[in-house]
Symmetry: C2
Amino acid sequence: MPTGQSDLLQGTLDMLILKIVALGPVHGYGISQRIHQISREVLKVQQGSLYPALHRLEKRGWLAAEWGESGKGRQAKFYKLSAKGRRQLEQEQAGWHRLAGAVGRILQTES
Amino acid sequence: MPTGQSDLLQGTLDMLILKIVALGPVHGYGISQRIHQISREVLKVQQGSLYPALHRLEKRGWLAAEWGESGKGRQAKFYKLSAKGRRQLEQEQAGWHRLAGAVGRILQTES
DNA sequence: GCGTTATAGGTAGATTGTCTAGGAGAAACA
DNA sequence: TGTTTCTCCTAGACAATCTACCTATAACGC
C-alpha cells in the first residue's frame, strides 16, 4: 500500500475515470464497478472519492453529464468524454508512462 | 502531470527514498540527486518534500541517521536502512507493482 | 408485510503528502 | 567580494483521497 490508506495511486483517479468514460458513456456507479473489475479487484474507488472527482472533471469541461435510465430501471447520470477531455486523457497517459517508467528504473537499479 | 503540480507520483516518495538508501548509505542531498539522475531527470524531489520525508521515515524506524563527512568536506547526515526498513521497502515495492500493473491494465483496455 | 442487499446519487470533515517559499551556514570559485 | 554550490531545515498552503454519513428506489428472501 504505497499510498498508506489508499486504494489507489494518488493522482491517477482522474486519468482512470477519463479512460473508462472514453470506452463509452457510463454512469458514476458503473465507473467504479468497471475500475474494480478491469483491475481484477486491485483498485477500489470509494464513493467519497468518485463523486467529487466526477464533479471536478465536469467543471473543468472534460466530461459532460446527462441524466438517463440505467439498465436496472433507475435514473442515473451518464458521463461522456468531451474533445477537451480526450486531449487531457492523452496528456495524463503520457505523463503516467513517463513517471511510472522512471519509478521502475529506480526500483530496478542494482547494487 | 498526473498529479497536477507534482514532480512525483504521490505516495511513491517513501519507497524511492528507501530504495536509494538500500543501495548504500547516503545523505539527504545525495538522495535527491540520485533520484534525479537515475530517473533521467524525470523525477525531481523538492527539498521541502525530501527532509520531512526523511524525518518521517526515521521516526518510523525504517532509516537510521548518523552525522558524517560528505565527499566535499562538509557535515552531512547519512542514512542507512534498518531491517524494518528493508521489510517495508519490500512491501512497498510489491504494492507498487500491484497498483501500477492494475493501472496499466485499465489503460490498455480497448473499446 | 418486512428487512436486507444492491443500485444510484450526494456531502462534510479529517488526514496526509507534496509544494512553494522561505531561512541558515560553510566551502569553492570568480 | 560576491555568487554559486552544497547541505540542512521549517512553516503554511493546497489538493486528493478517505471515513463516515445522508437520501431514495428496486429486488429478493423470509
